[in-house]
């Protein structure tokens, strides 16, 4: 083991910022991070063992305990559940002879849930030793179980098992055709850096991650900082359940994304950039590395790019399973080899980002659009969309519709149009922007996609009339409990309290005051949390409570109060130990 770690350490240039990369390698090799590994690593990197432990414990795909030669994770997104995930998970567990969340006795295989793996258009999905699997079915599970029982190494499994489709259903300005390699950069250098920034400004491009900050302004702020060591970071930590567009963009349009990063670097004067790729997209890693190598060969990256005196290179850093790392300052912490805990702001990343140097963090789609704008000019982009939301938006459409996949629309497109295009019928409502976004009802389908109306990072989950809203609300609330980083009190404790209170109501233990109590916790979590995760964690409840109060009311009992836990069940251990079955050994949940 020592040799292996030493090798990884050297491969990662002896840097503690690469801690996450090294730990990923150790996990892949040994399927856990042992105490010995921690000691060796702490000595090599000259960091405290506690820093390593806290990183291991923070990320979902790193573990202090042995997880088996085959580590299986099943995507727990609502979209997976809508495709019958639960019964398949049970089938999987039964076939493997292991309980969900556990390691099998012989140590061969473990099975657990994980947050949405970004395959909502082709679920139920999962990961095996980090590699994405899609369209799980009983025959597919049989095949996988047999390969595991025969201990066939994952590298030797049929490629079919790991096939990921792109499902591009509708293209517009950005997706119709990828720009030719280097063309945006050539144009940038030809027209000048300042002029290109002016074009981006003219385009009105706003960040595509969801928050919608003006891109040109962000780049300009960063370029004006005194500190000249600057960084460009592409946020490919696409973790919002229901979104998967960045996966497709990186599979088909990576050149253009990298080109966008490179011209950003030229404009802001950055020498180094990172693609922070979510762990769930490990399957894209080597392909992306090859594209970077190709761009270096073609003088589109590296020293003296296109002989214009610009030096810039891009490194891919993989995450290790943490939704919060999509928040830009948490992402930066993660890039530095730490737990992804959002920083206090100010200072903002454009002032103090990676290694406390000015850093531009943008979404994959933003860089893609920036490259296009550099080529076709800002006006051509601004001609599309609306005044406040120029250009197009790429949506990830999943749930109850005929054609799940990627759709590109000019901003301002109505929900009705989108539903018609993707073949959605009998629609109850749509989760727009994922759990952190908004649930809209079928009374609102004339609303439009745009920052001025329905802002979205791209997640678009359709629910038909047969679905129970409370199932999705519960799934989303659980998601936030699992993904809260735990830094601040309102989110750490509040998300768990939300879950308790919601479960109480949904499970039928609620009474008159319980909805008020639920709203009270919602407001606390929303208004007092440290970052966007906590501030939006109550949205699934708040947006459905606002639209469907009767759905919640129906769950309530007409009594003044009921315990939030199962009273009779809490007598069960004593009943068993005393071996009693008389009437006094039972309790009614509510007084007669």
């Amino acid at each position: 083991m020592k040799e292996f770690i030493q090798k990884q350490f050297e491969k990662n240039h002896l840097q503690s910022v690469k801690l996450l990369s090294i730990l990923r390698e150790i996990q892949a090799e040994f399927h856990f991070i042992s105490k010995d590994a921690i000691e060796i690593l702490a000595n090599l990197l000259k960091i405290e063992r506690t820093q390593i432990i806290s990183v291991v414990e923070f990320y979902h795909f790193l573990s202090l305990e042995f997880r088996g030669k085959y580590e299986i994770f099943l995507s727990d997104s609502i979209t997976d559940h809508m495709l019958d995930k639960q019964s398949l998970a049970n089938y999987f567990a039964k076939k493997l002879g292991v309980k969900l969340g556990q390691l099998r006795g012989d140590g061969l295989v473990s099975l657990d849930n994980t947050a949405c793996t970004g395959m909502c258009d082709q679920g139920p999905a999962g990961l095996i030793n980090g590699y994405a699997i899609t369209q799980l079915s009983k025959p597919r599970i049989d095949e996988i179980v047999s390969l595991i029982e025969q201990q066939v190494p994952v590298e030797d499994w049929s490629k079919e098992i790991f096939k990921v489709a792109d499902n591009i259903c509708k293209t517009d300005l950005l997706l119709t055709e990828e720009i030719s390699q280097g063309s945006a950069l050539q144009n940038t250098f030809k027209q000048g850096l300042t002029e290109t920034l002016a074009e981006i400004n003219l385009s009105g491009l706003r960040g595509r991650g969801g928050a919608g900050f003006n891109t040109a302004m962000k780049w300009q702020f960063c370029s004006q900082e005194k500190e000249t060591a600057r960084y460009v970071v592409c946020n490919a930590d696409e973790g919002e359940p229901g979104t998967f567009k960045d996966r497709v963009l990186l599979n088909q349009y990576a050149h253009q994304v990298f080109e966008g990063m490179t011209l950003c670097a030229a404009i802001i004067g950055a020498k180094a950039g990172f693609l922070y790729l979510r762990a769930e997209y490990l399957h894209l890693y080597s392909k992306l590395e090859a594209i970077l190598a190709n761009r270096r060969d073609n003088n589109l990256l590296g020293k003296n790019i296109l002989k214009q005196g610009v030096d810039f290179d891009i490194e891919i850093r993989l995450g290790a399973g943490a939704y919060i790392c999509g928040e830009e300052s948490a992402l930066i912490e993660s890039l530095e080899g730490k737990a992804g805990i959002p920083r206090n702001r100010p200072p903002y990343p454009v002032v103090e980002g990676y290694l406390n140097k000015p850093t531009v963090v943008n979404n994959v789609e933003t860089f893609l659009a920036a490259a296009k704008i550099a080529l076709i000019g800002g006006q051509a982009f601004a001609n599309l969309g609306t005044k406040q939301s120029t250009g197009t938006k790429i949506l990830s459409i999943s749930g109850d519709c005929e054609h799940r996949g990627i759709y590109e629309y000019p901003f301002g497109t109505t929900i009705n149009t989108i539903l018609n295009n993707c073949g959605a019928k009998d629609v109850l409502g749509i989760q727009i922007g994922g759990p952190s976004g908004t649930f809209i009802s079928n009374q609102e389908f004339d609303r439009v996609i745009g920052f001025e109306d329905l802002a979205t990072g791209g997640s678009f989950i359709i629910f038909n009339q047969q679905r129970n809203i409370l199932d999705s609300v519960r799934n989303f609330t659980d998601f936030f409990v699992d993904e809260s980083c735990g830094f601040c009190t309102p989110c750490r404790v509040g998300t768990s309290l939300l879950k308790k209170q919601l479960d109480k109501i949904v499970d039928g233990h609620g009474s008159a005051g319980d909805i008020v109590a639920l709203e009270e916790i919602c407001q606390l979590v929303k208004n007092y949390s440290h970052c966007g995760l906590g501030q939006t964690a109550a949205n699934p409840i708040l947006t459905t409570l606002q639209r469907y109060p009767e759905v919640y009311q129906k769950q309530l009992k007409a009594i003044s109060y009921e315990p939030g836990f199962d009273l009779n069940a809490s007598l069960a251990p004593a009943r068993k130990l005393a071996n009693r079955d008389d009437a006094g050994a039972y309790l009614a949940q509510v007084e007669d």
């Binding site: 806290s54 923070f58 830094f487 750490r492 404790v493 509040g494 998300t495 606390l524 208004n527």
Partner: protein, 237 residues
């Protein structure tokens, strides 16, 4: 003319680089807090010091004071919600004051008293947390840890060590100890370390020191935490 902010209508001067809470403390205005301590790097996690700055909620311990800020601090809404955040801390851990050596001198209690908290309001988690009594002179009761991170910072910033870290994520957060065994006895902590003294609750305690002050003479028996805090903390000015 020096620059000023207003807190609840009162004009307060500040120096460049000061946070809102630093300016407030210097001017004798108390803003409830637990993870903040003058002289320590601001952390911003407990959220008790949340104030309303020009209509926007901010953590006073991390947010820089700036000219033109009209700040609301002691409003009914903020005090109510601070009480609820404190109640969150009480249900998250296992805080049985009558059996805690720190009782009467505990800042968590002090803040709760100040906010007139009479019950824990929320359902209790009754979390299963450990006790580390391995050290001959010190004790860690994880039941009482509120993840304020002060011991982590004290050990790094004041003691020049690195005895503590906060690990885990979400509701499973935990304080970990930097020793091969994970036990306090094998770490390089010493009784007089700031990391020991700084704990606002009874999570880190000196052994054989409990209940030494009679009831009625303990810190928060006689004074409210705002007075205690302002007296102690303006020393750092």
């Amino acid at each position: 003319m020096s620059e000023t902010i207003t807190i609840d209508g009162k004009e307060i001067p500040f120096k460049a680089g000061q946070t809102i809470i630093e300016a407030a403390t210097a001017a004798g205005v108390y803003i409830p807090h637990l993870c903040h301590k003058p002289g320590y790097k601001p952390h911003g996690s407990c959220k008790l010091c949340t104030v309303n700055v020009n209509g926007r909620r901010c953590s006073a311990c991390t947010f820089p004071a700036a000219t033109g800020q009209a700040i609301l601090n002691k409003t009914q809404e903020l005090e109510d919600n601070r009480r609820k955040i404190t109640q969150m801390l009480f249900v998250e851990g296992n805080h049985f004051c009558p059996s805690c050596e720190k009782t009467g001198n505990c800042q968590l209690q002090g803040v709760a008293y100040y906010l007139a908290m009479k019950d824990n309001h929320f359902p209790h988690f009754f979390a299963n947390r450990e006790l580390d009594a391995s050290h001959p002179d010190l004790l860690i009761d994880h039941n009482r840890c509120i993840f304020c991170n002060l011991c982590v910072r004290a050990s790094q910033e004041k003691d020049g060590k690195n005895v503590f870290a906060i690990s885990g994520r979400g509701i499973n957060k935990r304080l970990i100890i930097n020793s091969k065994t994970g036990l306090l006895k094998d770490s390089d902590i010493e009784v007089n370390d700031c990391a020991v003294q700084v704990c606002p609750t009874g999570a880190i305690l000196e052994k054989r020191k409990g209940y030494s002050t009679p009831i009625g003479q303990r810190i928060y028996d006689t004074q409210q935490i705002d007075q205690v805090s302002l007296t102690q903390e303006t020393v750092y000015e």
